[in-house]
C-alpha cells in the first residue's frame, strides 16, 4: 500500500466541465486517483470517457478552453489547480511532461528535430546553445535514435513514425521529469513499432525512476505496462486495482465487457464475441444513477437513481469498484461466466 512519502500525484474529486452551445459537457465527473514514485498507472477507457481531458487537466492544458475545473491535483504537496500560469509553466515540461498520440502532428514540420529539442531544453535550463545541443544528442541516443549526432539535424519528415515518437519522448525527458503522462503513445503506430516504444518507456522508467500515467483504450497495453489500472467510463472511474487483480478478478460489469469483447491471441476460439450492447453515452446528458446502467445486463431498477461510489472491496482495500450490485452477486456472476 502507498505510504505518504512515496506519493507523487494525488488527484482528488476532479471535475472538468466545458460549456458548449448544446449544453455543458461533463467530461470528467469527480475522479480520484494516486500515482506513486516510479510506478505506472494505466488509465483505460473508450473515446469520450474523459481519460484524455483528465490527463490534460493535470497539466493545466484545459484551462484555456473555458473549462470549469474543480477538485484538487496535488503534485508533491502542491495543488496545481491553484497555481497561476507562470508557476504552472515551471512544472509543466520540467517536473511533469506529456507525450501525445500522433507524433506527426506534435512536431513542427518546418523546424529540425534538434532545434525543437534544444528549445525544450533551453526553456527550463540555463544552458548555452552548444550545451543544449550536446544534451539533445544525448537524449536522442537515450531513446534509441541511431547516429544521433547526424540525425539531430533531420527534419521531422525524415523520421519514421516510431522515430518521431522517440523524438517526442526525448523532448519530454529533456528535464528529467518525475512524472510522464503518455496519452495513447502507440495508437498511431504499427504493432512491432508499438512494442519497441513500450519497451523503451519501460526501460526509461527503470533508468530514470520516473512515474508514468499511460492513457489508452487498449487493455493489452496497460496489461503490459501498468502496475495499477483505472477504468474510466463516462467521466468517472468505475474500477481501479493492481493490474493482476483487475485482469484476474475484475469486479465491474463494464470491465467484464471490455475484457470479453476483445478477441484473444490464445485460448480456444469462440464463435461469438460478447459485445457490450449500445454505445457510450453523451456527456452532456449522461444517464442518471450509475452511468453504465443502460448498457448493463445486470442493472436493477434502482440503479438508475442511485449514484454508485468508488468503494474498496472488503478483503482488498486497493481494489475499488463503483457498482451497485452486491459484492457476492458480482463474484458469482463473474465466476459463472468465466467457466
Amino acid at each position: 500500500m502507498s505510504s505518504s512519502d512515496d506519493l507523487l500525484l494525488r488527484v482528488e474529486d476532479l471535475r472538468v466541465e466545458f460549456p458548449t452551445e448544446d449544453g455543458t459537457v461533463k467530461a470528467v465527473d469527480g475522479i480520484t486517483y494516486e500515482v506513486r514514485k516510479g510506478r505506472t498507472l494505466g488509465v483505460v477507457g473508450e473515446s469520450g470517457s474523459g481519460k484524455t481531458v483528465a490527463a490534460m487537466t493535470v497539466l493545466g492544458l484545459t484551462r484555456v478552453q473555458g473549462a470549469k475545473i474543480s477538485g484538487r491535483v496535488v503534485f508533491e504537496g502542491c495543488d496545481l489547480l491553484g497555481l497561476d500560469e507562470g508557476a504552472l509553466r515551471r512544472i509543466r515540461g520540467n517536473e511533469i511532461a506529456m507525450i501525445f498520440q500522433d507524433p506527426s502532428t506534435a512536431l513542427h514540420p518546418l523546424y529540425r528535430i534538434g532545434a525543437q529539442l534544444i528549445e525544450a531544453v533551453k526553456a527550463h535550463q540555463d544552458v548555452s546553445k552548444a550545451q543544449a545541443r550536446t544534451r539533445t544528442i544525448e537524449l536522442l541516443d537515450l531513446v534509441g535514435i541511431p547516429d544521433p549526432g547526424n540525425r539531430v539535424d533531420d527534419y521531422p519528415h525524415e523520421f519514421s513514425g516510431g522515430m518521431k515518437q522517440r523524438a517526442m519522448i526525448a523532448m519530454a525527458l529533456a528535464n528529467e521529469p518525475k512524472l510522464l503522462i503518455a496519452d495513447e503513445p502507440t495508437t498511431a503506430l504499427d504493432v512491432t513499432v508499438q512494442a519497441q516504444i513500450l519497451a523503451l518507456l519501460e526501460r526509461l522508467r527503470g533508468e530514470l525512476g520516473m512515474a508514468i500515467v499511460i492513457v489508452t483504450h487498449d487493455m493489452g497495453v496497460v496489461a503490459e505496462m501498468a502496475d495499477e489500472i483505472a477504468v474510466m467510463y463516462a467521466g468517472r472511474i468505475v474500477e481501479t486495482a493492481a493490474t493482476e487483480a483487475l485482469l484476474k478478478s475484475p469486479e465491474h460489469p463494464y470491465t467484464w465487457g471490455l475484457l470479453r469483447s476483445i478477441p484473444k491471441l490464445d485460448g480456444p476460439r469462440v464463435e461469438r464475441l460478447e459485445p457490450i450492447p449500445g454505445s457510450p453515452p453523451s456527456l452532456i446528458d449522461p444517464p442518471s444513477g450509475c452511468h453504465f446502467h443502460p448498457r448493463c445486463v445486470y442493472a436493477q431498477p434502482d440503479h438508475a437513481r442511485i449514484d454508485p461510489e468508488l468503494l474498496s472491496l472488503p478483503a482488498e482495500p486497493a481494489h475499488k469498484v463503483a457498482c451497485l450490485l452486491e459484492p457476492q452477486v458480482r463474484r458469482k456472476l463473474w465466476e459463472e461466466k468465466s467457466v
Binding site: 496489461a223 485482469l247 491471441l265 468465466s338
Partner: protein
Amino acid sequence: MSATEPLMEVKDLEKHFPLTRGIVLARKAGAVRAVDGVSFEVIKGETLGIVGETGCGKSTTARLMMRLLEPTAGTVRFEGNDITGVKGSKLKAVRRELQMVFQDPYSSLNPRKTVGSIVAEPFAIHGLHRDRAQRRERVKELMDRVGLNPEHYNRYPHEFSGGQRQRIGVARALALGPKLLIADEPVSALDVSIQAQVLNLLRELQREMGLTLVLISHDLSVVRHMCDRVAVMYAGKIVELAENEALYGEPKHPYTKELLAAVPGARRDRRTITG
C-alpha cells in the same frame, strides 16, 4: 462448404506505383513496389485474413482484387474467369459480385445523402428495383438485417454513431447480394466495445448468406477470431499463408513470429488477459 473450390484466384499480382522527379519534365525515377508478386486463392465460403503492418500492400491487394486499381502484372480470376482486363458492362456485372466495406465509416458515407439513398445507390447504379416503394422496402430489409432501425431511413450519416455508420456501410455492400465481401480494416476506427458488435454481425451475415469474406486487418487478434486461413504480408509479398490454428500455433516465418510477439500482453504470459 463445397470443399476447396476457389471463388477467386490471384496469381503473380504486382502493382508498382511510379515515382517521378521534376514537375515540367516529369521522368520516372523508380517505383514503389506496393504489391510485388502475390498469389493466393479465396475458397468459397471461407474467411481469409490478410494481415500486415502499414505499407505492406494489404489494402492495395484488396483494391486490385476489386478492380479498383489496375495491376502492373498478374491476373485475378473470379469463378474461373479472368477479370483482370474486363471493361464496361462485363466489369459492371463482376462488380455486383464483389463488394467492399471500408475502414473509415466517417469518410466512406456521403454526408449529404440520407441513409436510405446511400443503401439504395447500388440499386440505382445497376437499375434494380426501379419501383420506388419496392426499393424502399428492400432498403428497409437491409437496414433491419444489419441491426439498424429501418425507420431511420431518412436520417443523415452524422446522426449515427461510428458503429452504426459501419453497419450502413455493410448494408450498402450487401445490397446486391455479392458472393465476395472484402472488408478493409472494418473495425479499426471503432471503439473497443463496438468492435465486437460489428465482428459478430459480419460473422452472422457470412453464415446466413454463405458469403465469402476477405478480412484485411493489422490486428492479429481480430484476424485470429474471424478467419479460417491467414496470409501475412510484408513489403508487398505474402511471407506466410496457413490455416488459422497452424499460423497462430506454430508460426513458421520469422516475421510472423515477430508480429505475434509484438502484440501487447503477449510477452508477459502471467499477465495475459483472462475472461
